[in-house]
Amino acid sequence: MSDFLAGLRALDRRWIFLAVGLLVIAPLLFGFHIAPVVPSHRAKGFYDAIERLPEGSTVLLAGDYDPGTRAENYPMHLAAVRQLMRRNIKIIGVELYPAGVPLADDVLRIVGAEFGKKLGVDYVNLGYKVGNELVMSSMGTSIPKTFPVDSRGVPVSQIPVMRGIENFQQIDMIVSISAGYPGTKEWVQQVVSRFHVPMVAGVTAVSAPEYYPYLQAGQLQGLLGGMAGAAEYEVLVGKPALATRGMDAQSLAHVFIAFMIVLGNVAFLGLRKPAKG
């Protein structure tokens, strides 16, 4: 027994890495399903807030993430655009991460093709602007002055979907897909607090607890946390996709990590000195 515990204590962490890798890859490769995804009240809040928007509304879609958090943010970005386009809501995309522009372009293009939406008429991507919170407060004064051209270099005055859009007063909702800073917190502080625009947010799992106070205070109407939140939202939108497939892998990974905590404590139990007697 003591040999076994000693071996456990000296376990090369590469065995742990291998086990995690296999547990994550297996459901994705073989497609077996562990449990259905049940939407939480936070995801329902996100979905219902967009459902309540009248057709023809205009939404600012802030895709503030980059490929690093693609696994968590991209599925929720995709599902959000699906719901918005299904409801014939106009989309104005902005990004505060320079590497997020191609991701936003991809999402709008892919879903736009699904729903027959036209770039410039039904949606536009204004692209990236340096300045973080300054960009947000500048948009509060004038969006066309902050983004005089879109991500393709086309002047916004020539883009039909931007007609009549001057500042946040013409924006019916902000949908923030965020990896961290700058992101959801800054949108709440700079825009929601000052201009009282309704907002929903999709964020990474590790940062989701930070936004619970905003959700409780009503500054956010819905919140998606990580890939789990994205999967819940996909179910609500009616098109389970990347995130839903990933939840089976995540389930196994979580169980394995819990098992590792137990195993680690068992391994070091043997180190405890015997009681004097």
Binding site: A71, E210, M260
Partner: protein, 214 residues
């Protein structure tokens, strides 16, 4: 002089920004907006210094054939080629078919995602190595961790719907309360540090040691 001038600039601009927080009048606020814009410009200019430093160090290490010098050459080539391709494509750099986008999709995007994905492996090894249940508080923490890890995935709901409910309660009540306490303390720490810097009590950040050195 080298240390006095920066500290006066810090004092005046710090006090000005404090006043601008409370005074919305355009006489103050327009200047505050200009100060913020200039700060972005100054930071943008430092990118030139940063790239120069990057090239200087890596070129020198490659020339001297220091350890892993091949990777230094890969870095230098990657930097120069990406910049050249991006500049050559002008406004069309964001087109789906552009060469810049090819570099982004082929190299940058998968590599960045991969680094983030490493977290899954490291969390498992950290959980095995370091999560020791040595006290009642650590036991409570472990129980909360188990509930949360199960509650956040469909498996938890499949076992019992109480698990995600318990996970939600843990996150919304005790976690929120503790986090708010930490945030209040941290915010006071920010105030104290900021005041020390503005009033010149803390000079070290500007490259001046002076009082209070170790």
């Amino acid at each position: 002089m080298k240390r006095t001038v920066p500290f006066f600039i810090t004092l005046l601009s710090g006090l000005f920004c404090l006043v601008a927080f409370f005074v919305p009048h355009p006489w103050i606020h327009d200047s505050y907006g200009a100060v913020q814009t200039w700060a972005i410009v100054v930071v943008g200019c430092t990118y030139v210094l940063g790239v120069a430093n990057l090239l200087r160090i890596n070129v020198r290490q490659a020339q001297r054939r220091e350890g892993d010098w091949i990777y230094k050459i890969v870095l230098i080539l990657g930097l120069l080629v990406t910049m050249a391709v991006g500049f050559s494509e002008g406004n069309h750099y964001s087109d789906v078919t552009s060469r810049f986008q090819w570099i982004y999709r082929t190299f940058y995007s998968p590599m960045t995602s991969t680094m983030f994905a490493l977290l899954a492996f490291f969390i498992a090894s950290a959980a095995f190595r370091a999560f020791r249940i040595r006290s009642p508080e650590a036991m409570l923490l472990a129980i909360a961790a188990f509930i949360l890890m199960l509650g956040r995935v469909p498996l938890g709901n499949a076992i019992s719907h109480y698990i995600p409910d318990a996970a939600d309660w843990l996150m919304e009540i005790p976690q929120n309360a503790a986090k708010r306490g930490i945030l209040i303390g941290a915010a006071l720490g920010v105030m104290a540090t900021g005041i020390r810097v503005i009033l010149g009590l803390e000079k070290a950040y500007g490259g001046g040691g002076g009082e209070g050195g170790t």
